[in-house]
């Protein structure tokens, strides 16, 4: 009997996400973010999302600027060289519209790792002595959200634990994160859902396995047999995948190893143009609401721009894009 296909349209896949869901994503800062899905979340006007991510970037800035996000738990947001901070997050945390819970990079990674391992917490010695663990700065606690009514929010931000195995001293236990949905962008996905990632895997495996549902945006859907010739190169098995959406260039303006470069000029424009809410709204009107779907977005970018970004097949990055002043 043929297996039911998980392939669907972007619109249908994003309809799996409910208002108030906890989300996480593939990628790292401005690399391999599922941007086409991010734009569709904004088009579908999802509300009160709770982002839990190892770090954020351009994708987080779009969701936060669009007012889709209520809570952000992470450690970093910005656009690397192309925008020194997260202007939309900064605006909304300063105005009190957004709840931000700060952890460190390793804390967030271990929170998702614990979620992926099925344990409630993991220990670490990272970032002791900092204000990240200042009890006064437990924002979800201060907001009254650690009362157990939302079962996805742990009752404490962290706990101190004394190591009694090797007497290593006082460590932290950080709580597991178990997002409702992970949206992952992969270079290749088999017809049944086997996922292959090229280049750095970032924290994709932990994010995908911690989540209850996994939506995979694939640059290419390929025959399942093709990926099974070298199973050691694959990251995620089909049974974890709930939806497959095939969309080329779907990480734009973030970069995708072996496929295309990050579009630095586009990201820089986003950063500069969205420092105010009016600026963000105008940007979103142009690039999200002003196009009906991903194809229209790509048409608006134009083939010349995309071809400049396309990776050299030997180097795995573009050799045509102008990156500096020389």
């Amino acid at each position: 009997m043929a297996k039911p296909s998980k392939k669907m349209s972007l619109t249908d896949a994003i309809q799996m996400i409910q208002d108030g869901d906890m989300l996480t994503f593939s990628g790292f800062t401005i690399w391999r973010r599922p941007m086409a899905a991010i734009y569709e979340i904004v088009r579908q006007q999802k509300k009160n999302l709770h982002l839990v991510e190892v770090n954020s970037g351009t994708h987080g800035e779009v969701l936060i600027g669009a007012g889709c996000v209520k809570i952000w738990e992470s450690c970093w947001i910005g656009h690397e060289l192309f925008g020194k901070l997260g202007g939309n997050l900064a605006r909304k945390v300063m105005s009190g519209e957004l709840i931000v819970e700060d952890y460190s990079h390793l804390h967030m990674l271990l929170r998702l790792t614990a979620g992926a391992m099925g344990v409630p917490y993991l220990p670490t010695a990272a970032s002791l002595g900092t204000d990240i663990i200042n009890p006064e700065y437990d924002i979800l606690g201060r907001t009254g959200l650690r009362d157990g009514s939302d079962t996805r929010i742990p009752r404490a931000k962290y706990q101190f634990v004394n190591d009694t195995f090797y007497d290593m001293g006082t460590l932290l236990h950080v709580p597991a994160a178990r997002p409702d949905v992970c949206i992952m962008l992969a270079q290749q996905v088999g017809e049944e859902g086997t996922v292959q990632i090229w280049g750095q895997k970032f924290s994709d495996e932990e994010a995908a396995k911690a989540a209850n549902k996994l939506i995979v945006i694939a640059e290419e859907v390929v025959p399942e047999e093709y990926l099974r010739q070298e199973p050691e190169r694959n990251l995620i098995p089909p049974y974890l995948v709930d939806a497959i959406v095939e969309l080329p260039w779907a990480a734009h303006p973030t970069g995708c190893f072996g496929m295309y470069e990050a579009d630095g000029a586009f990201i820089r424009d986003f950063y500069n143009e969205t420092r105010t809410q009016e600026g963000f709204d105008a940007w979103a009107e142009k690039w999200i609401f002003g196009v009906n779907n991903h194809d229209e977005y790509l048409e608006k970018l134009g083939i010349r721009r995309l071809e400049t970004l396309r990776s050299n097949s030997a180097l795995k990055y573009s050799s045509k894009v102008k990156r500096g002043t020389r």
Binding site: S74, L81, L106, H107, L109, D131, Y137, R142, F202
Partner: protein, 269 residues
Amino acid sequence: MRNQELAKPGEYKVGDILAVSAAREVQDGEVVFAGTGLPMLAIMLAQRTTAPNACCVYEAGTVDGRPIHLPASVGDARCAYQAAICSGLFDVFSQLQRGVVDLAFLGGAEIDKYGNVNTTVIGNYLKPQIRLTGSGGNPDINSLARRTVFIMVQEKRRFTEACQYITSPGWRVRKFPSGEMAPKQEVYGKFFRGGPSAVITNMAVFRFDAVTGEMYLDTVHPGFTPEDVKNNCDFDLDISRVSGETVPPTYHELELLYKAIDAEGIFLA
């Protein structure tokens, strides 16, 4: 012939002396964690001059890459070129926590006299005037590497008596639950491996007293005096231990930086 003569003031820029000074902190054979920007120039310059066996780890998950084009970020595909390992964050942060990282280069918006660094907020954390990027891996790396070197801009408001928010731990840190300041050794116990060993700015190089953990002025870049530096610190900087002038770049180092490492002019415009 490599021209090892020192360049004269006016023949090099601020970014050049930052990169060169940072590169000189790398010892051969070390495992080095580097972030985006000047740290990349520093490690790549060190590998081409005094530390050919240094191994560079980028936090997005590449180990000992041999890029032929300068990465624009630690997540760039260029970091993976000819790498020994291309993995992910779990691999490299676990290695860090395991204790294999000798040296790391970091940055920050604000630093205090104990080397605590703030990259999170300006103003009250609960009602910030300015929200910055947040911690990233800065505090993890600063917690768990043997030595860290900070590359910073020298301004009075950035060199403060006490950080408004401690994102990343220096030599005296908060001990919770009370939050009183205590030596890092006391808070980290057996995980204590070291801490900030140098701060490099556009004006000078600073180090930390082994006993008190307080920052002092070590060398001053050509063209500046110890008093210039002291006037650009909000805390009472110890300038009694100045060992001399920072050694400027050699012509060979400048050629490597501009012709080989950052030939495209990404960080050195």
